[in-house]
């Protein structure tokens, strides 16, 4: 009986980790955020970013991700805000054009929920962050993709985003949750049994 079970288990394990995701389809993905101004939620987004990830739902701990956001592509909700937020006191895009997240570890939380730890660098400051996310397979065959969704709990003052008078978090809240939806295609067509 044991002799029969082992190959069976191995087969199951192999077919489960036959799905591995690699290339992020930027045009299908989005990074949005909600800033709170005087208690008023204002939606914004980043138009340009690049991401690479490798993720196998059967071996999440081997997962890796790197995301680079072009900060000048920000839409903070109004023209005034867009002009302001790229300036020196906010992102200072001239000196620091990109925000970068590099993962250090991934952990399964169960029920298709995961948690990635990593380092976020914005405006020359690097901070450790923990980001919960969900994974969902979508589509089939060569069009099969993995959808990764989550919210990165950014605190703007940790990165000096909004200095001087803008540091007042009673006007613009410190928490600026960054919502992401990354759609990735399969890294390689693994043989299926």
């Amino acid at each position: 009986m044991k002799r029969l079970l082992l190959p069976l288990l191995l087969t199951a394990a192999f077919s489960a980790h036959a799905v591995e995701y690699g290339t992020v389809l930027v045009e299908k993905s989005q990074i949005t955020f909600t800033s709170k101004q005087m208690g008023v939620p204002v939606d914004g987004r980043f138009g340009k970013f690049a991401a690479t990830l490798s993720f196998d739902p059967a071996r999440p701990e081997a997962g890796k991700a790197q995301i680079e956001v072009d900060l000048a592509s920000v839409d903070a909700g109004s023209k005034d805000a867009n002009d302001e937020v790229v300036s020196k006191g906010w992102f200072n895009v001239r000196e620091f054009p990109k925000a970068r997240f590099v993962s250090t570890s991934v952990k399964a939380l169960g029920n298709n929920r995961f948690e990635v730890k990593g380092q976020m660098t914005i405006k020359g400051r690097t901070r450790d962050m923990t980001v919960p996310f969900s994974y969902k397979p979508d589509g089939a065959g060569s069009a099969a993709t993995g959808v990764f969704e989550g919210v990165l709990p950014l605190q703007r003052t940790q990165f000096g985003i909004g200095e001087g008078a803008w540091a007042d978090t009673s006007v613009v809240a410190d928490e600026v949750p960054i919502k992401f939806r990354l759609v990735a295609s399969q890294a390689s067509a693994a043989p299926r049994k």
């Binding site: 005034d80 008078a165 613009v172």
Partner: protein
């Protein structure tokens, strides 16, 4: 018998709105051209909170008015003046709704929901639409210029009746006046 003056509730609503609306004219004109700053965000919020308050007071006022007929205009007033007064008041009733509503709609269209006093999120009246929002900004602006003109006319007319014609029109809306200030009670 028809009362000679407005009820205390009507007076309270009238003067509360008068203060709010006059303050809002000044604030609105001042804040619109400010460069973006935390101060500007604060002022915009105060303006919106006050605007929603005006809207609620307007609703209360209409509800009260339905059950409480206003005192008649002095019989000494010429017919055309009485007609003009009714038309002006009608216009003011329209504007106390139209001005805040246009601001609320503009806010919704521009993607800035209104959170009353920073705690009560109000629903968006219309969906996010930048072009429509810019149009509504103009509508809000010009509607309020009209509003300011009508309010000025309203105040000037009240002053003229009270101090030039001395017919007691304004006293009908003043809680501090004793009944002897009304022309009917003068010797």
């Amino acid at each position: 018998m028809t009362p000679l003056r407005y009820t205390r509730t009507a007076m309270l609503l009238h003067w509360l709105m008068a203060v709010l609306i006059l303050g809002m004219f000044g604030l609105g004109i001042y804040m619109a051209d400010l460069p973006l700053s935390p101060q500007k965000l604060k002022l915009y919020s105060y303006h919106k909170w006050a605007g929603i308050s005006v809207l609620l007071l307007a609703l209360a006022r209409v509800a009260w008015r339905i059950g409480h007929a206003p005192p008649p205009l002095p019989a000494s007033q010429p017919h055309w003046q009485q007609m003009a007064a009714h038309a002006g008041h009608g216009l003011l009733y329209v504007l106390i709704f139209a001005a805040p509503l246009s601001g609320w709609m503009m806010s919704s269209a521009l993607g800035f929901p209104v959170v009353w006093f920073g705690v009560l999120p109000l629903p968006d009246l219309i969906g996010k639409d930048k072009a429509l929002g810019e149009l509504l900004k103009l509508v809000h602006q010009y509607l309020n210029y009209v509003f300011l003109a009508v309010v000025t006319g309203h105040a000037l007319a009240a002053i003229k009746h009270q101090w030039l014609d001395r017919d007691g029109t304004l006293a009908r809306m003043l809680p501090a006046c004793t009944p002897s200030d009304l022309p009917e009670n003068r010797p």
